[in-house]
């Protein structure tokens, strides 16, 4: 049994002799590789930034195990988990954003606009402040909060089918309610917990360690394959339920699986890094402009999300010097400006 016999490699597909083939898009592949490289470069630069500054070369040598003395602890125990956490959370947020935007057929249907981020942070605060939970339970609270919010928003927007704009508007309302609940818990908490809670409200990578990274890895390993296996169905669902059903997929079940996986990815990203705003909105849009291909663009969006968070984190550390500023502040400001620009464009082309 040699599956690699008679393998033909063409411009846009690989075909094996046994009748299996894999289609790929060259431009998409290039974009993914470039984004992955960019993410790696930014991560190395970001690890080198801080009070104890290291050159990129020193960072690489430390990662390989023979760096300058004293760098081991700083790089491996403090800065590497933080950087990895950001990368993985960005990867998850980018994927989830692409899934949701594709399902709602609307660039504004991304999880942070429709309130999942706020839901997850409310869940985290309930666990942290009311139930007095430790780090893993707080993360679990974030996951539960995100899921419950997703279900509630979806049901509230349901009225003989879910219309994209109603979903967005219900989400804006839900964000306000949950934001109020979050601020309530925040103001009520004692000062030590309030400081902990603050990172759950803005989205911050400060003080993230290997336990956060393991949460992120766990979520990605389970959920990303599910999403990728359903990628073709997602692309077909974009054409409308009737067409999708005619092409041989069950629209209702596929949508449910994709929604569950997308919500799970969002909640897990929030558990690992807090509700960093606008990454899920911007990453798929930017990726689509780079690949210039239709469809959900899952992997390019995922890598773009990783680049965005890594870049924002690096920028935050450069701006504030001592890394006090949470990364969510930077993505919030730039994301708001980006959303404004997106609105202008959508209006000019008459789509909104």
């Amino acid at each position: 049994m040699t599956p690699l016999k008679n393998v033909t490699l063409a411009r846009d597909h690989v075909r094996t002799g046994s009748g299996r083939s894999l289609r790929f898009d060259r431009r998409t592949l290039l974009v993914c590789t470039a984004l992955a490289l960019l993410a790696a470069v930014v991560t190395v630069l970001s690890i080198g930034t801080g009070r104890y500054a290291l050159g990129p070369w020193d960072v690489l040598r430390t990662l390989a195990g023979n760096g300058p003395p004293g760098a081991d602890f700083i790089v491996l125990d403090l800065r590497l988990p933080r950087a990895l956490d950001g990368l993985l959370a960005g990867f998850a947020m980018g994927t989830a954003g692409a899934v949701f935007q594709s399902l709602s057929r609307n660039p504004l249907g991304s999880p942070d606009i429709i309130g999942f981020g706020n839901g997850a942070s409310a869940g985290a605060l309930v666990a942290l402040i009311i139930l007095d939970a430790g780090a893993p339970q707080t993360a679990l609270g974030a996951v539960c909060g995100g899921r419950a919010t997703a279900a509630a928003v979806y049901l509230l927007a349901w009225k003989r089918g879910v219309h994209g704009y109603r979903l967005v508007l219900v989400g804006i309302g839900a964000s306000a309610v949950l934001g109020a609940a979050t601020s309530f818990l925040y103001v009520r908490a004692e000062i030590g917990k309030a400081a902990q809670a603050a990172t759950w409200m803005v989205g911050s990578l400060n003080g993230r360690g290997w336990s956060d990274v393991s949460i992120a890895v766990l979520g990605l390993v389970v959920l990303v394959p599910v999403v990728l296996l359903h990628a073709r169905r997602l692309a077909l669902l974009e054409m409308g339920d009737d067409t999708a059903a005619a092409l041989g997929i069950a629209p209702g079940r596929s949508r449910l699986v994709l929604l569950a996986a997308g919500t799970g990815l969002t909640a897990m990203a929030v558990a690992a890094a807090g509700p960093i705003p606008f990454v899920a909105l911007a990453a798929p849009q930017l990726a689509r402009r780079l690949t210039r291909s239709a469809g959900p663009n899952l992997l390019p969006a995922a890598w773009m999300g990783a680049v965005l968070i890594a870049g924002a984190d690096w920028a935050t550390q450069r701006i504030s010097g001592s890394a006090i500023l949470p990364v969510g502040v930077v993505t919030g400001v730039t994301g708001g400006v980006y959303l404004a620009w997106l609105l202008l464009r959508e209006r000019r082309s008459g789509r909104l």
């Binding site: 967005v168 309530f184 103001v187 400001v333 209006r347």
Partner: protein, 348 residues
């Protein structure tokens, strides 16, 4: 609009003029009574409960007891500020909803309050301003900029509720991100601004109100002046012109009124959302859509909601308090979802 709406929408299906006027006047009267009741509650309720009898003597016949001091120096300013700011936000919301013909408009949702607070926070932490007179002007400038910006992003005359809500979300996100960032960098400023930036009536000095009052009064006057032409504008620009309204001038004056009201209210008590969303919907039930009745009714009912939310915030988690902005955002968000669900997609 069809004849099946609750509110008397057109003169055709409205009750005869006299009973309608008495309905409106009755509504206003009920509102005034409610206002007196919540004002009394706001004076009496708190971490120290004061009997109503002592409230009365404290107000009109003070004898220097501890209760008198609490009422005169803490609760009276707080209540008066709540009334003024509540009325301002309610009227601003009504002007906004009429101007944009948009049932989902609200100064908090559409980013005007965020503009005012971003300007104030900038003044405090970057320029070290500590004088309320200067905050006030910063807040007005910020509110004006945000109002114009959201109007532009939303598509000015071609605006739909969805576009405006999204434009407001974008502006809110960018501005609140900026406010959060500044607060985190400047810890000293964080301490003075932490409670203000959620929106609160607590700990505000009566002197602030005195300084903001002329601006609030000017805004309210302007709103009443444009009430009539705004009513004409809600029929569409062409009909409004035919009825003799100046379309451009009315729009500019209405935006100026919104700016004055929201800017001054935000400068005094921080960004408080959703009052301007909820109240116009409630009062339309008895005033109908006519702005000449709706604006004054909002001015009476909005402070009722503001003070009631403040009192709720004081009693829910004794001995601490919840900021009024948190209470209004919670209930306002629920109402917003309800409104969105009620409408058909075509109307959005």
């Amino acid at each position: 609009m069809t004849a099946t709406t609750d509110a008397p929408a057109t003169d055709r299906d409205a009750p005869p003029a006299r009973s309608r006027t008495s309905l409106r006047a009755g509504g206003l009267l009920v509102g005034l009574l409610l206002l007196i009741a919540v004002a009394a509650a706001s004076l009496a309720v708190g971490s120290k409960q004061i009997p109503l009898h002592d409230v009365w003597t404290g107000l009109f016949d003070p004898s220097g007891t501890e209760n008198d001091a609490i009422i005169r120096s803490l609760r009276l300013p707080r209540t008066l500020i709540g009334i003024a700011a509540g009325a301002a936000l309610g009227v601003a919301g009504a002007v906004m909803q009429t101007l944009t013909r948009n049932p989902l408009a609200d100064p908090g949702l559409l980013g005007v309050n965020a503009g005012a607070s971003a300007a104030v926070v900038t003044a405090i932490s970057l320029f070290g301003v500590r004088s309320f007179g200067i905050y006030l002007w910063c807040a007005l400038a910020g509110a004006a900029l945000a109002a114009v910006l959201v109007n532009m992003l939303g598509g000015s005359r071609a605006a739909t509720p969805v576009r405006l809500a999204l434009a407001g979300t974008a502006v809110n996100a960018a501005l609140f991100g900026y406010v959060n960032g500044l607060q985190m960098i400047d810890m000293g400023a964080l301490d003075t601004m932490r409670h203000w930036s959620v929106g609160t009536l607590a700990g505000r000095d009566a002197g602030l109100l005195v300084k903001a009052l002329p601006v609030l009064a000017a805004g309210a006057l302007l709103a009443m002046l444009v009430a009539r032409p705004l009513g004409a504008l809600s029929l569409g620009d062409d009909s409004a012109k035919a009825l003799g309204a100046h379309v451009g001038r009315t729009r500019v004056l209405a935006i100026a009124a919104i700016t004055l009201l929201c800017g001054a209210a935000t400068a005094v008590c921080g960004p408080i959302g959703f009052i301007g969303l909820m109240i116009p919907h409630a009062v339309r039930a008895f005033t109908g859509p006519d702005p000449r009745w709706m604006f004054p009714a909002c001015a009476v009912y909005a402070p009722v909601l503001m003070l009631a939310s403040d009192v709720v915030g004081r009693v829910v988690v004794p001995p601490s308090e919840i900021e009024v902005g948190i209470v209004t955002a919670f209930f306002g968000g629920l109402l917003f979802i309800h409104l969105v669900r009620q409408r058909k997609v075509a109307q959005l």
